[in-house]
Point group: C3
Chain length 636, copies 3
């Protein structure tokens, strides 16, 4: 006996279904708001794709399995339900039921968020909307399309008006199976483990409101007609959500000493789940109580999962499973007399409800747990720890990669210590703001760094250079010789060290005073520097002794030329403030051959000896000294 | 005479109520988008909880106060309205009215955002939905449940179709009372004061659209029946919102020289508020005008509040109060003839409307101001300045604490100047990106810092060490002695200073040359370093004079052993490039006792004297010198 | 023959229209989520204002142009349609159609996002809602208000049920014209060009769901009556969206090797667009196919635009234009027999559909392209490159300026290298977190910097100061004299250099030992420092020679006084650890006059000579030496 469906009834079912579809938006907001930013895209995407999957599959198979002619109350079958000239009632009913299937399916995405692979999640959506939901749904609601009761649970008198168990608990059981199998998120429990904060609570709150409004259709439409029960059902729904939130807030405030957002939000949803099974048979005051208890069940459930180290990313299990069980049992506690199958006592009803809760729970949990184990073998349920760490937005969808790029660049720089480069990102992305700042710090750092370097250089100069003449000192000379030795070995070219001693400096000092002496030394230094190439080193060894280090020489002849030029340069009279002096120098030359194994001091000593030889040979001359390189540059 | 309510009427009221509940989502988006991120969770949470509160309270008491049998037109009473077998009409009507109550209540949350305490706000929600809204609502709408007019304002002919005054202005008055009592947000006015930007304008825009759509139910459903006025009401609502936005945009563009977002959004809402009282009795062209004026009133109102230094965080007062007043008065200006109480002239109507605006305004403002003053005594309305600064997300809900943790760590580091540690946060939170960057900068900084330190060390080395031997110089020796004195006083152990003078160094220099002399000095330095413990200091005081500083000695005997080993080590022949020399040394030893009060130079002088004594006693020997420590180590 | 409109029909149209208006919210979410954060406010604002514009204009003119009495099937005219006592049907119809006009108009905002000027976009909205949409809309749907067919395309049998072409393709054509004229965004194509990521994908996903739900009204309401087709239409809409998303996901996954979010989202929307023209005449299985092909068309279309370097910021053209064309043509492929104008074959229908696609396309594209070219002349379509870079939120609306302020400050600091200042922002804004961090880095940096400076100073001290006495060394003395010369030239005041030589120091060294000598030198240094002003420089030139540099002297007399005090101070006996010594000093004074052109060493030499004179004149005295400044301070 199929009931008559007035246009108003159909309109009501269609509109209710629209609201139920809008739950998808609500779940997307709640779930993407309650996870970390790095996984927000992934969870939103899962919400989108699971609805696509469940719609398509429910149309093709699920609807017929759930509402088709029953095989002994266990499963239906009618693949053509919406294909062969369906009536407008069938279509409206299908639309409503498909939206319900979508709800059951999408509940899972929240619980498994932040760690389940996208492909495995797609398989999960297939599983829920094809294997789990239509089957247990048939048990409770089979025959509803035609106003009959064909499912075994339904026949037994099981009352789950809009699906506290059929929809919400089923979603919760599947969630529980998945999170038990996958284990908690990295960093959630164990040493240093902590609660993970949602990144966009206002969006989650928006989601709660969207769900709340949608629930008016979810529960209100489950009459499948615009009958007189509808307003009361909707009011009960509103009130249970309200007291669910208030009770959860109060309890969480008492437990955690402050008003906690996520527990309150989940409390509202738990209140709504709780009223779902019974909203058509309870009074408004009962609804206030049922909702409040739902909120409390949820808060306690969240704490319980925490204690058991079961990681439900958004609290899907406490909200949909725990409060769903409560709501289903509450039918037996709060339903007005006569609201149930004639012949049953309230206690009978209680047992029937319990049977429904347990049988559907057992089926949903076992079937999904087994399926997940299978999926895990084929597809791997969980992302790697590295992927989990970097976040599923990037790891699975390549989204948010501008920030990733930036981080990679920054890490690279830090490793290299390459301080002069700036990180480069697409302008004005999210990353760009950080990059601009980073570069700003680098700029500032660079400026300061440059100052440090200059100051250090200045100080280092003091240690390596002679104050009077500005030439390198003995120390620097040694290092230059060392370098020359190494370089000669490497390049195969000769080098030479000149030891220059002024011949008559003491006399100048005595005659013209210390200051004139200093003037002479400075002038000599200048002339020596001018005579040699820029790359040659001139040093003052102390007193009136100087040294030259010449590298990259082709032959000894080149040295000879330098010596000549030097002698000539020094021979020029030097103007003092109070007169003019003539200075000559004796030069000792030591050659460095590629094969030499001497140390720097030995080379300098050779030059010293050569200088001594030059000096006793008549001053104002240069002389080399060494194996095979005896040479003489006469005085001018 | 109760009107008949067809199923279509009830459906329309239910659906309209669903839309009105959806306003909660709209307000959540608008308000959380228009505040700063640090308060976004708090304001969203307030939006959620005020709806829970107002639903529950309106069910328990408010509905009966507003629509129960009237006590002289001033207040109703019927606590059982929805409890004792209510008809489906009562339930639908209750649902619609509860949603309205929720709207009036939630308006306040925006105005007081960013500074009102959560607990005080909960009290505010109680106040509005229980004390304020149902009372003044009764004046205007009392009797509506039964199609009668029982409120004194209603009886007088006051027309406020969907609540420009009853809902919106009441919310606005309560808001005004609250913000006057609390004062502006820190940094809003006064020196350096500035407008505060919303952190998520797209979300606020979404909220405006949600509100706009919801308003079709808000106004359209206020017919309480699907009568022929509904389409026109909805069109008027659409048009007034549109011209409200356009007029506000134009005016704000003219005033501020650019298209300003928040004023335009508020302009749309103000247009919607303005049409609310009169949408059932005006033509579409009038709606265009009423909306436009509403937008203008809002923009001017926002500027007025700015000038008066009244800080309304989201512009709730201009939108809901000012435009609400305008809309209520516009009834008298634009209503078509015959739309009002027979017997009244249009001018009478104007006065009646004014009476309604003023009486409801006076009641709402005074009652709420007094209540807030009371709440302030009990609960404190406002958070502390510190809490306001840190933001109510963290201060009140502990939310967003990962970023707080980070900041605390960063501040700690900066204070300590501990540069080597990295900040540690939960990976991949919002904070983690900042932290990763921060650590990157630190890494880079560290690398550069290490370089600086090495360079400095090198330079410092030059100042403290002898270039020839690599030993510490006289300066370092002095410091070592100082340290030894201090350490001896602290540990109660002896220390000793050796003054070592080579006996025949000048001769070596003369005979083998300066370079050989250097070689000898280097060899001596090496041998001395090898002889002593790693912690002992060997220094070259200059020329052929060395010093040793030995710390943590048990007794003088230990010193004697060192002296013996040293003499033996130095006595070994030294190989030169051109021969072999024998060097001996005279050693003077000065002991440092825990009680000594000498300065470093006195200790060194004692050692010097002892060395002199040793030298004149025969060279190649060691001798101590000091009170009670005369000792002698003979030459080998 | 106007059809009868039952209340239920009107209710259905009103509710459907509410859903269509809710599309604005969906578009706002999708578009603002798919652009970069810097343009999110701008695009949301455009979505808001284009709806205001199109509502107002459609009311005033557009509605009459589209549905007024036809001028030969080409355009209608009836400016009074909703003004002169419209029936409730007209109002409901207007509401529905105005929402459609708003949809066509707002499509453009996404395509042109991130570069079109706000004012130019306002003009675009005027153009679309006034010039384009009502005209081509009239061709297809003219007469619908009265259940007639008056447009030329409609008369020809063109079937576009809910506007695949009339609404979506028209929006797509206008979008295409705009983006062709404006060119791609900076950085999108060309060297270094890359895809631009949306900043808030969860919000975009929310938008997709909002659109999907709204589409049930968009398509379902296009029956203009709650007839028996409605449920099937809605189911088709749901299914086509689902397979659109699934097909797009699968194709994009295959093409790009990972599940791509934006293509999947657009695939859902494309499926919805595709079913829009034909949802009333196809079966559910056909809907699955049509949707899937729509998703594929969209993904391929996105790749095509990429290849053609046409930059559509959100994929509006592939979604609305390409899938719209597909959906319109699909009517001819999938419609059940008899669904079209009697007398036409299916092939005729195909041609008619093609005619509709091409004619409306040609009109929309050409008219809008021409108009844009005109708008470009008057208003400039595109923001400047600089504005595009900084983002339209800031450039056009001054929004987000707190972050801008911060960046400006940071850049300024970096340029100045002013390291001591902290950036200053309004506390706890988005900018403040970055600023707090930045300041934290600066603090840390400063601490480390200060350490470096101290270390450097210490090292530098070693280079400039005498270790024994702590006085400046010869080097510092030279610099002090140089400074004195420069300062004297600048201030016109005298300076003086004292050359101080202890008279009998060698004797002390010989008699009391080196250490006593050091003690004497330190004491002398102390006394000299005490005698002179803080600003005067005392240096040890070496051995027992000291120098003083006195600046800012009024006359030579002052010098004389200093010399006297100095001689007196030095004449005091000096206590040694082992006795007491008397030390005298000879002082040579050299004056520096403002006009002097000497160098520092000449000045010091003069002082040296003067000292020598003083010494030979009897020691313990001071004597100046120089042109015109001979002076003598006798020994005490």
């Amino acid at each position: 006996m199929t009931p008559v469906h007035t246009p108003t009834d159909i309109l009501w079912v269609l509109l209710s279904a629209c609201l139920v579809v809008a739950m998808q938006a609500g779940f997307t907001c709640v779930e993407s708001g309650l996870v970390r930013a790095k996984n927000s895209i992934n969870v939103a995407f899962k919400n989108l794709i699971d609805f696509c999957i469940s719609c398509a599959l429910f149309a093709v198979l699920g609807f017929g399995m759930m509402f088709g002619p029953s095989w002994g109350g266990w499963i239906g079958w009618d693949p053509n339900a919406i294909i062969e000239k369906p009536s407008n009632w069938v279509m409206a009913f299908f639309f409503f039921q498909a939206a319900f299937c979508g709800t059951a399916t999408t509940i899972v995405s929240g619980a498994v968020a932040e760690r389940m692979r996208f492909s495995a999640y797609c398989a999960t959506a297939v599983l829920t909307s094809l294997l789990i939901y239509p089957v247990s749904g048939h048990w409770a609601w089979g025959g509803a399309l035609d106003g009959q009761v064909t499912g075994w649970l339904g026949k037994m008198g099981f009352i789950d008006f809009a699906g506290s168990t059929v929809v919400h608990s089923v979603g919760g059981w599947v969630s529980l199976a998945a999170i038990l199998l996958m284990g908690p998120r990295v960093g959630r429990f164990g040493p240093g483990g902590r609660a993970i904060e949602g990144y966009n609570i206002p969006m989650a709150t928006l989601g709660v409101f969207l769900l709340w409004v949608s629930w008016f259709g979810f529960n209100g439409g489950s009459t499948l007609a615009l009958d007189e029960r509808v307003p009361g059902i909707i009011v009960n729904t509103m009130l249970a959500g309200a007291t669910g939130g208030l009770a959860a807030l109060a309890l969480a405030w008492a437990m955690l000493r402050r008003p906690v957002v996520d527990r309150t939000m989940n409390g509202v949803l738990a209140g709504l789940v709780a009223i779902t099974a019974n909203c058509h048979v309870v009074t408004a005051p009962s609804a206030l109580v049922i909702g409040a208890v739902g909120g409390i069940v949820c808060v306690l459930g969240m704490s319980l999962l925490d204690r058991l180290k079961i990681d439900d990313a958004v609290g899907a299990v406490p909200v949909h499973l725990f409060a769903g069980i409560w709501g289903t049992m509450a039918v037996a506690l709060f339903a007005h007399d006569g609201a149930w199958l004639p012949g049953l006592t309230r206690w009978d009803l209680f047992l029937v409800q319990l049977t429904g809760v347990l049988s559907i729970g057992a089926y949903a949990f076992v079937a999904s747990y087994a399926s997940f184990a299978l999926i895990n073998l084929v597809l791997r349920l969980r992302v790697t720890a590295a992927e989990e760490r970097i976040g599923l937005n990037i790891a699975e969808h390549g989204a948010g990669s501008s920030v990733l790029d930036l981080i990679v660049q920054m890490n690279h720089q830090a490793r290299e210590g390459d301080f002069s480069r700036r990180v480069d990102v697409e302008p004005e992305t999210e990353a760009a703001r950080i990059a601009m700042f980073y570069n700003g710090v680098l700029d500032k750092f660079q400026v300061e760094n440059d100052r440090h370097k200059m100051a250090l250089k200045k100080v280092a100069h003091l240690a390596n250079y002679d104050t009077l003449t500005g030439l390198g000192n003995r120390r620097l000379c040694f290092e230059a010789i060392k370098r020359a030795l190494a370089r000669s070995a490497r390049t195969g070219k000769m080098a030479a060290v000149f030891y220059v001693d002024l011949d008559n400096f003491k006399g100048i000092n005595d005659r013209f005073g210390h200051d004139a002496g200093d003037q002479v030394l400075r002038e000599v230094a200048k002339r020596m520097s001018r005579t040699v190439r820029d790359t040659d080193i001139v040093a003052r060894l102390g007193g009136d002794e100087f040294a030259l280090v010449l590298e990259d020489l082709e032959d000894a002849e080149q040295t000879r030329i330098v010596a000549k030029k030097l002698l000539a340069a020094l021979a020029e009279p030097i103007a003092l403030s109070n007169g003019e002096v003539l200075v000559t120098a004796s030069i000792g030359m030591a050659f460095v051959e590629p094969g030499d194994t001497e140390d720097a001091s030995a080379v300098l000593q050779r030059a010293d000896h050569a200088m001594y030889t030059a000096k006793i040979g008549g001053k104002g001359a240069a002389r080399s000294h060494g194996e095979g390189h005896d040479d003489f540059v006469p005085s001018l």
